[in-house]
């Protein structure tokens, strides 16, 4: 059985199934919800924030992820890590969310939309010159914008590999795509990032090596 099939989650999880609360349930690692949330919330929120680029939407879907995970905790068979399972739920929610035209419209006008400059401003300025700091900020902003322009699948694979540092087989499990497809999307995403990087490097006189 493929990894992706081993770590299945139900597509339609009932929101508030009253019967599931009344019956006796077997203990699962997700019963201690407070611990699970404390441990995995930053990761889920981070992934959703980078995927959706909207703080409010990321926050809402992060809570929805844990709610769904807890509601469907009986279906967690421990054949993949909790982290992988949660990211998969988050990814499904993000897909559903971004399918709506309303999201695409509000993404551009929402006050909670994340701007590339906001993220780039986080780059620490210590131990590098002001010029190198500026170059680093431009590099981060450039990649952030490039990732935004990728297709949904390319963006997901890129973020899972380079933001969440997942291995390629793990990404295949989360996305449900074959390994070869994951690699293909990843290479295309990297090609776009490389093209943007080369273009930006041509406009900058100082060598980015000074950042090191």
């Amino acid at each position: 059985m493929r990894d992706a099939e081993m770590c299945m989650i139900p597509n339609q999880i009932p929101g508030f199934d009253t019967t599931s609360f009344d019956r006796e349930q077997q203990a699962t690692p997700l019963d201690d919800l407070a611990s699970v949330v404390a441990m995995y919330q930053p990761r889920v929120f981070r992934f959703l924030l980078a995927t959706l680029r909207d703080r409010d939407a990321a926050e809402t879907l992060t809570q929805e992820t844990f709610l769904r995970a807890w509601t469907a905790r009986d279906t967690f068979r421990e054949d993949c890590s909790i982290s992988t399972w949660l990211i998969r739920i988050a990814l499904n929610l993000a897909r559903d969310h971004t399918r709506t035209g309303r999201f695409r419209f509000w993404k551009h006008v929402s006050s909670s939309a994340v701007d590339a400059a906001d993220v780039a401003s986080i780059v620490p300025a210590h131990e590098i010159s002001a010029e190198a700091h500026l170059i680093a900020q431009q590099q981060v902003a450039g990649i952030w914008q490039t990732v935004d322009g990728l297709s949904d699948r390319q963006r997901t694979v890129f973020l899972l590999r380079f933001l969440e540092e997942m291995e390629i087989p793990q990404i295949a499990t989360v996305t449900g795509m074959p390994l070869s497809t994951v690699k293909s999307h990843l290479y295309r995403a990297l090609d776009a990032v490389r093209a943007q990087h080369s273009k930006a490097a041509q406009t900058l006189n100082p060598s980015p090596k000074e950042i090191a």
Binding site: F16, D17, T18, F21, L33, A34, V37, Q41, P42, F45, R46, L49, A50, R55, A58, E59, T62, Q63, F66, L67, W70, T71, V114, D118, V119, A120, I122, V123, P124, A136, Q139, V140, G142, I143, W144, V147, R161, F162, L163, E165, I168, K183, L186, Y187, L190, D191, V193, R194, H197, S198, A201, P208, K209, I211, A212
Partner: protein, 189 residues
């Protein structure tokens, strides 16, 4: 990550491949992708060639380093930004609201609304009670009769659509039209 070749393997490759061939053609997009993505290494001759090329070609080597550095910066900045946003957003709620608590919440809200609706009626009732004169206790039959008479008057006044003093003004054309109708009928006759 791409496997690091030991010195013997590298020497073998440098011996087998001509120098200009190593540097002449730069790495392809796919080879860059494999190097950056760190896909599972299989120590194939192709990987060995890529390693050897990177050792020989400064341009590709520098570009790879810069790309890795940029992606690391992107990762660190995005993580730091997300952590900062999480700290500012403290309204996280654990999903402990079960169906039971939701149902009890609905009942509580309904009870509160009912209480709010009944409270003004209770207040009005309490205000109305002192209006009954205590002195009337001594003459209960008279007071009852006068009350009943008063209520009958009020009923009568309410049941009439037009107050008695205004009766004359209610339909000033009524008598006139009747008269006209009577006169026209007599004329026809």
């Amino acid at each position: 990550m791409t496997p690091q070749l030991d010195s013997q393997q590298l020497a073998a490759h440098f011996d087998s491949v001509e120098g200009p061939e190593l540097v002449g053609a730069h790495l392809t997009a796919e080879q860059f992708g494999e190097l950056l993505a760190g896909s599972a290494p299989d120590a194939s001759p192709q990987d060995a060639f890529v390693e050897a090329h990177l050792l020989a070609c400064e341009q590709c080597s520098a570009e790879l380093d810069e790309l890795r550095q940029s992606i690391t910066l992107f990762r660190d900045a995005t993580r730091a930004y997300a952590n900062e946003q999480m700290l500012h957003r403290t309204r996280w709620v654990l999903p402990t609201r079960t169906a039971h608590s939701l149902r009890s919440g609905y009942w509580a809200a309904a009870a509160a609304m009912l209480l709010i609706a009944l409270l003004p009626m209770q207040v009005l009732y309490q205000h109305a009670r002192p209006a009954q004169p205590v002195a009337a206790v001594s003459s209960v039959p008279d007071a009852t009769q006068s009350d009943e008479a008063l209520l009958e008057d009020v009923d009568r006044a309410i049941s009439t659509s037009v107050p008695t003093p205004m009766q004359a003004l209610a339909d000033p054309t009524a008598t006139a039209s009747n008269d006209n109708f009577a006169s026209t009928s007599t004329q026809r006759k």
